[in-house]
Symmetry: C2
Subunit: 231 residues, 2 copies
Amino acid sequence: MTNIESMRATRAPLTRERVLAAAVALADAEGIAAVTMRRVAGELGVEAMSLYHHLPGKADLLDGLVDVVAAEVATEIAGRDLPAEDWRAEVSARCLTARTVMLRHPWAPGLMGSRSTVPPVVYGLYEGVVGAMVRGGLSYRLAHRALHALGSMVLGFTQEVFRPAEAGGSLEPELAEAGLAAIVDALPYTAAMITTEMHDATDPVLGWCDSQTEFEFTLDLLLDGLERARA
Amino acid sequence: MTNIESMRATRAPLTRERVLAAAVALADAEGIAAVTMRRVAGELGVEAMSLYHHLPGKADLLDGLVDVVAAEVATEIAGRDLPAEDWRAEVSARCLTARTVMLRHPWAPGLMGSRSTVPPVVYGLYEGVVGAMVRGGLSYRLAHRALHALGSMVLGFTQEVFRPAEAGGSLEPELAEAGLAAIVDALPYTAAMITTEMHDATDPVLGWCDSQTEFEFTLDLLLDGLERARA
DNA sequence: ACCTGAACACCGTTCAAGT
DNA sequence: ACCTGAACACCGTTCAAGT
């Protein structure tokens, strides 16, 4: 009896926060498809039906995941000294921070795109970016367009163009299996591009795509364009 | 007996193509979540297990959907006269064509991001864009980076920043329900941006976000930057 | 108040059976 | 060769029952 009592005491009571934390951990470890009511409950040593006392249903669990990730971005940004005097540097830092969090939770961009409402925390993130741009002299119209451009880039860059989903796979096995010669014939420009880039790659082990470099390149391209549009 | 024979005759035999066409129609009409083996089979007047004679499993069905959409982009591009003398105009036309197809199948970008292999048709689309850029004088390195930037934009812009998922929802009901005054207090820049843009909007019915305009703006921003980097 | 077991209507997939 | 019914191991969710 006292044993059971103490076991109950050691097992922290279920809360919305504990459920969401378990779901995030599960999504990070096994992908968003592993996040089922039954699996999440299992991780917490509880039956699936117990979750319904803390969340109305699965839709709210997924909305909650978006919330957690957005809050993580907000916390990360709050913990950094943002260069407030230069709008370009400040916006850049905000986007790069958001990206590092997305890389920790690769399922998050896809999930954000599939939910039907935008959680308040995300509006808070927009506010920071818009504020930096408007204080930097961009019009509201330009800031609005910039928000769409930057947002779709932060969400879109995790969906890799060449090796989507599991970041593990490289292009080479695919090429090998499909027959390199056939590809070179059918896709001469692409083939030349791949061989050129593989040759120039500083780290051939990492592969020929360094998405961090590509992300920063695109970010600069957009910020340069916005700065020019501002003037 | 002859009746049954003739009914069998009128019902076209199941093929991979017919299964995929039914799945695309279902996804367009009810979203990608409605695409289950049982539902697709039902649309074809057949049992779920029959599909396995034409597709190895659900993963291949989803891969097939990506294939169909990519092929649709390729067909659409092949049917247009692309301005070959100007790389900027040609790449722009290719991206805009891809976008119109994505708008017809809003589930496609998310699906492409979640699949683990890139189908050959998609490599064919890349080839067209890379070819245009290289012939236009861009280095392979620049073309590679441009491909990532443009690709993530074409895939990312359907995941709307403000009203994700169902394009039906507007921002206003959300704002109203959350209390406009509270939002204005917490998000002054965002509130000012929304009111300014709503006031300037040419078509207030369409809402304050015109994603086609925003897409074209971002596309031009990127192409301008690439042209400058080329020189 | 919080958790549970049984049940319902769904999934994808296998396998032996029909034609 | 092509389609099917029954079955298995999973889903989300409801509801009456336990403590």
